[in-house]
Amino acid sequence: MPSGNLVLRRVVQLVPTLFFALLLLFVMVRLLPGGPATAALGDRGTDADIARIEASYGLNRSIAEQFLSYLWQIAHGDLGVSYSLKVPVTELVLQRLPVTLTLTACGSVLALAIAVPLAALAASRRDRTTDLILRGLFQLGLSSPVFYIGILLLTLVAAKTGLFPVGGYGSGFLDNLHHLVLPSFALALNFAAVLFRNLRSAMIEAMDADYVTFAIARGLSPRVVLFGHVLRNALISTVTLFGLNVGWLIGGAVITESVFAIPGVGRLMIDSIFARDYPVIQGLLLVLVLTVSVVFLLTDIVEGLLDPRLNR
């Protein structure tokens, strides 16, 4: 069990990182070309109009001043109001983010469900036909872009069989899940391939380890050895991989959303960037960064639980 001390230290380490991430985000959004007034008015805007609109958003103040007042806002749980949609950003985030995160979670779980048993199967049949076929298939899966798998699933499965909806999002929990089956599968394939490759080698390494030879020598059944010893150790690399890939998974979810027309954060983010809607861009990215850092923290803790040596 990782001590509370260690967890606390990790959280404290996170604070400056988050602060600088927010600072970087804030400055980047303002320094990159374009502005909310020019985006809204196009070529018709006169300099006076643009200045007036930017002043109404407080953009005529110095960046330092703007940043301090933004920090003050966030400290009070307020992400500001969208320039173009005139809705509180918190409301938008709460509407869109759960969709993206549910998709990411479903994709991850599905990837696990596909990769773990097949990796165990491949590892136990090392270098035989089953292993070679599985490795080839997953290598192909690794090279298949999410959007392409998505389109194929839409055409071959959704349109042909009618078992699943052709994109969009449902109403109510079960209907939502039904809408997410194919998108999750499209999202899961790449991650499943990454998991499979690493789990297979982790399991093979564990099978060659002395403690497994000893466990077999003690007369434990192959099943007990596989699940109790080999899989348990391979689990650590799964958790590490999830931590390393969560950024990719969220990005993949954003692309999947666009293929299946799912109303998650992806469309909202791109639209708000084109409109230079600073509060929305900042709010969305800030929440995503928070999500990633929470996952980093959790994977650290779980790794410590699984392998106490890591806690030192």
Binding site: L142, T155, S293
Partner: protein, 280 residues
């Protein structure tokens, strides 16, 4: 069997993945360099007598809604997608490797600052950040390269930093120091060449990812811009016809998968070729 395994761990072994991977990549490079030799038609020529034709003798991959030959478009797109694989990674590789080498060699406050910057960059979801930067700069390949160079150096920097920290503890580094060589000469003439193997292996995987990423961005309208033929753009073109003319989207996808497959096999093969890495 164990004798075979022992040989397999030796350096310089040409494995099957290496051969297949190198073969596929080589084919695509030749096709990308000389598309004119392989493409049966002009990729941009409209043919109103052959709209949306299914694959057949005249058009092996079929034609699109303007009668353009899909095979020729896929072949010409190879040039652009190989360019994407190289340009999306090479700047990050150059910058990240040099920075990582300096960090690993000197340590100290410089290393501390760079490490903090890396911490901040990796906490952003990679793809989302790339998409955001491109959307800001404006869609297009050049801005895609800029966005990737600005973010992706982090991976190379981390990898090189760790490698150099390992290498500089080895005897030959101490020997070079005793011989009185200057720091930068030791670092770039002695340590870096010995630390390049994992970088090269990662570069192959990274190029495979760049092909996927580049085509995804092309599909989303953020990468290569139509009418330029790029595999992701071709898939997007065909998306609306997928019920009636599946060949428009399916073949470019097959091209993406084969190039990605080849690059990652090549990466795997190189791991075997350079020999299993020993950890101290």
């Amino acid at each position: 069997m164990s004798a075979v395994a022992a040989i397999a761990r030796r350096r310089g072994r040409i494995s099957l993945p290496l051969l297949i991977g190198a073969g596929i990549v080589l084919i695509w490079i030749v096709v990308g360099l000389f598309p004119g030799l392989f493409a049966p038609y002009d990729p941009d020529a409209f043919d109103y007598d052959a709209l949306l034709q299914a694959p057949g003798l005249a058009h092996p991959f079929g034609t699109d809604s303007f009668g353009r030959d899909i095979l020729s478009r896929v072949i010409w797109a190879a040039r652009l997608d190989i360019q994407i694989a190289v340009f999306s990674t090479i700047f990050a590789l150059g910058f990240g490797t040099v920075l990582g080498a300096l960090c690993g060699f000197y340590g100290g406050w410089f290393d501390a600052i760079v490490s903090r910057v890396i911490d901040v960059v990796v906490i952003f979801p990679f793809l989302v950040l790339i998409i955001a930067i491109i959307a800001f700069l404006g869609p297009g390949l050049f801005n895609m390269y800029v966005a990737l160079a600005a973010i992706n150096w982090v991976s190379y920097c981390k990898l090189m930093r760790g490698e150099i920290r390992l290498q500089k503890q080895l005897d030959y580094a101490a020997a070079a120091q005793v011989l009185g060589y200057r720091d930068l000469r030791i670092l770039f003439r002695h340590l870096v060449p010995n630390a390049m193997t994992p970088i090269v292996v990662f570069w192959m995987t990274d190029m495979a990812l760049a092909v996927l990423l580049g085509s995804s961005l092309g599909y989303l309208g953020l990468g290569a811009q139509p009418p330029e033929a790029e595999w992701g753009v071709l898939i997007a073109d065909g998306k609306n016809y997928i019920e009636t003319a599946w060949w428009m989207s399916v073949w470019p996808g097959v091209a993406i998968i084969t190039l990605g497959f080849g690059l990652s096999l090549l990466g795997d093969g190189l791991v075997v070729y350079f020999g299993k890495k020993e950890r101290s």
